[in-house]
Symmetry: D2
Subunit: 299 residues, 4 copies
């Protein structure tokens, strides 16, 4: 169980405190060690380990093309590199209740603070393929998965968030609320209500009817124009900026690659990119230089 160095508080406890805080809290996406460190350095209090971004960095698709252990391996680097809590976007838990139990165990061992699972079916399929209702996991099966997760955690502050796909899959508001209620009863620590509409209306409607029975998390990737003030008034507990560092990196890497390819020189781009010293700083090179003095002193 990882402790936060500065405060002595466990990362799990810290995430739980964020979920239950009266203020609107924010998680920022990261997908590898260096982006995680950048998130912390920017002042965020928590990290969203996005399934899309984790996959995309490897140039594979967000359809469980990575194995779950490849994800856990990357999370370990992210956790080692930071002192703020990480919430994993854990898809469906990568299988059934037993896979979920195993996942929780491995995440706890690596100092991850919580996992968010969604009520879809493994492996995830493309949401835009057909006009038909998307299949969702049965309520009882998904509730059992949540319960298996909470039963198996060793640290009671490890957070299990239930993500509801009913609005995205076009199953309607009543189904979404029914699921939220069931997942609450099964022991979820928070509800993530997802929407792909360009406005927040259905999310706000859900929030009103939900009435704060559990903390509510939203992901405004599609309704990004909505002022944050709206979320605060709606008593949303947490906002996730879900994939924006990956998208930032892709934009800039593409621009720089094209520019160097065209110009065949670095002279024009040196000032647009981080200096080498910034990379060394993010790797904590200084600590090693100090240690070398200490342990190489006599040789």
């Amino acid at each position: 169980m990882s402790e936060n160095k500065s405060s002595g508080e466990r990362k799990t406890t810290r995430l739980r405190r964020m979920l239950n805080s009266p203020r609107l809290e924010f998680l920022m996406e990261a997908h590898n060690g260096i982006s995680a460190r950048i998130v912390e350095a920017a002042g965020f209090q928590g990290i969203w380990a996005s399934g899309l971004a984790l996959s995309a960095q490897f140039a594979v698709r967000d359809n469980n093309e990575l194995s779950w252990t490849q994800i856990v391996d990357m999370l370990e680097f992210m956790s080692d590199a930071t002192t703020i809590p990480i919430l994993l976007d854990g898809d469906t838990g990568y299988g059934n209740f037993n896979n979920m139990r195993r996942l929780v165990k491995k995440l706890e061992q690596r100092g991850i603070a919580g996992v968010c699972i969604e009520d879809k079916i493994f492996p995830k399929t493309n949401s835009f393929l057909t006009g038909k209702k998307q299949p969702l996991c049965g309520i009882e099966e998904f509730s059992a998965k949540i319960k298996a997760g909470t039963d198996s955690r060793k640290d009671e502050d490890f957070c299990i968030v239930a993500r509801i796909e009913a609005l995205i899959a076009d199953w309607g508001m009543e189904e979404a609320l029914r699921r939220a209620e069931a997942y609450h009863e099964a022991g979820a620590d928070a509800i993530l209500i997802h929407s792909k509409k360009p406005d927040p209306d259905e999310v706000l409607a859900f929030a009103e009817r939900w009435a704060g029975r559990l903390p509510l998390i939203i992901v405004p990737t599609k309704y990004y124009r909505t002022p944050t003030e709206v979320f605060k008034r709606a008593d949303i507990g947490m906002v996730i900026w879900a994939n924006h560092l990956l998208r930032a990196s892709v934009a800039k890497m593409s621009a720089i690659a094209r520019e160097i390819q065209r110009s065949e020189t670095l002279a024009d781009i040196e000032s647009q990119i981080a200096p080498l010293e910034e990379i060394f700083r993010l790797q904590n090179a200084e600590e090693l230089a100090e240690a070398e003095k200490r342990y190489f002193s006599d040789s």
Copy 2:
């Protein structure tokens, strides 16, 4: 052995052809699947898998803190995602001649086109620690490592590049040339002459005396202001832009993270980052959508 889809030519053969071409060729750094794909999309003909960038993305140091298999695992994603050849910045080969043999075998299995090894000692130590002469690997030991590498490759076009650290380590020009000669004799396919000076003088002096006995590769990270025309006139064979995509991504991720943290909204940054569709495109999501139609047709 991976083939280039479009041409049928092996990646190894393609890298070898670049090394031996009369034109000045360029490799661009990448460190994961998506940056590799960006390099190819920008029009580059080859990829430099930088040890610094590979390490830094995980937020660990470029001192063999990653295991060699963690590096090979990431290279596999890079190779799968691209059709242009990848040259690995393989440090010291991660041990002795036997580790080198094993490395070559594993790289060939993953479709990597070549490896560059440097005449330092495992694990690498910080070059800036002391004013003393840095230790280098013995010439005979390093030559044997090159020979072990060439002896063990199954594909004779797999490239083994010898990187000379004598100028960086302050052992002088004569030592650098002596080493180049020995590595040539041991079977290296090209020489990478490294320098940390802010101008290219020592590299150009080396090139003049080397007189093209083997293709010469340079890494102008520190002497980035030098016009590329100078390298062409000096009969340099290949220039490596060694860490610029990582540095591009760090600059942009830091800026965006700070901006979102400050403003608590996405509204201002959406236009500065890659759209989601660009991420899907780099993941080749369309191919899966097509395949789903084919294999889900009846369900």
Copy 3:
């Protein structure tokens, strides 16, 4: 694509030839590098990489508690250590058609000769849990998975075997035959008909009605008393000894551990276990000793 050293024939071709041979052929279980080498040394022509044995060696359950990449990693060691073909017991393909495509790609890269997939649902659940009919994968979905596998292989000799669980799941003989027909049409290279009865009657009945439309594979773990002559007369193509080396190792390790624990001495057991030299031989230590002479000659 791995070649068999002695013959130049690819491992895939060799497995395909075994499947199509008029003689009864045998695969022996292995689960790691050293057991694979032992199988080859004993004179077997092919290896069965058992899902049960692969899992059990790590002390996890055969319910997809290992990730699919952890399995592929172990297979790589097994393939590197041997020159005979390996057929992977690949469960359900670890997901849907797209996971199957990815699996085939990764197996081909590692020199595995084929994969057997079974028509159950990911993750596998315990077959003994209830008296109810076990759920099976839909015929069309499973057929599409086979087709996705064959479509995505680069080496046309890579073998895809369809394992039918209908008898085990108590869906009856007609269903088993209907499935065999469908999987044949989908492109399977052989049919594995599984049974947990203590006698071979249902397997023999299946074989008779199947009448050799595709090669037939059986796994007589439960009906082990049946003389092999019976299988030959029934025109079975291949017999898999599915988990016997793992079980051999467990029996002996348990006995030796208890003996040493009790006696607190090695004196009594030294003659019962393999000499150290046998371990060195299986690691091919001699090759390295020779290489050290070659590459260390001057130092």
Copy 4:
């Protein structure tokens, strides 16, 4: 930090108590999850994760052909499968002081109780190659590595054992004692004195002169005929049975493979191997069956 379930005592504390106990204690070799579980089931109080056995199971050589993370990955399965402490045979620490620090961190995260490092040079070379004195790591460098290890552990009970190769490398008794003294001062928790002689004379001579300044560990692989009573009288603290389960498994797997290959039937060997039920028991299948009842209750 892993706790022992039955006692609540940490594994690290338990290993430390064994090292400091007045009785002669024993560690038994294991190399994967199932052998680790067998060791515990036999009644041993601790496990030796042998470098030779760990490598050999993958059919690679004990010359750092496995990466250090491949070893850590296997140790995680061993640790998850058992409640008794594991001491890793950690070669040289897989590099310099910084690699050692990283190793200690990763071992602690996985619940490993301690690591033994030896004063050789990475990568290990064959001890039988020449008649010349084998190179050893410098005393100061190795002492710094021990110190780096102890400085970096978070759990002060994590054990760091210094293994002395001076007798094996033919550097003599005085050198061995000088090294033991230096490693003691650097903070080692115990000394492992290694010998390849067929009798224990030099080990006993060392023990006498060492006089119990730190607990002494021996590995009687070569002098296996020596009665354990001799070690007790010599005030040895711990005996490691270093590779006997691997050798047991190889002997039996070879015999069974040859027997089945020859006879083409299982009928003769079924009684010589562990029943399937024993494998299921070692995988803890029953716990999953119980859990399935709990979490599948309604479906």
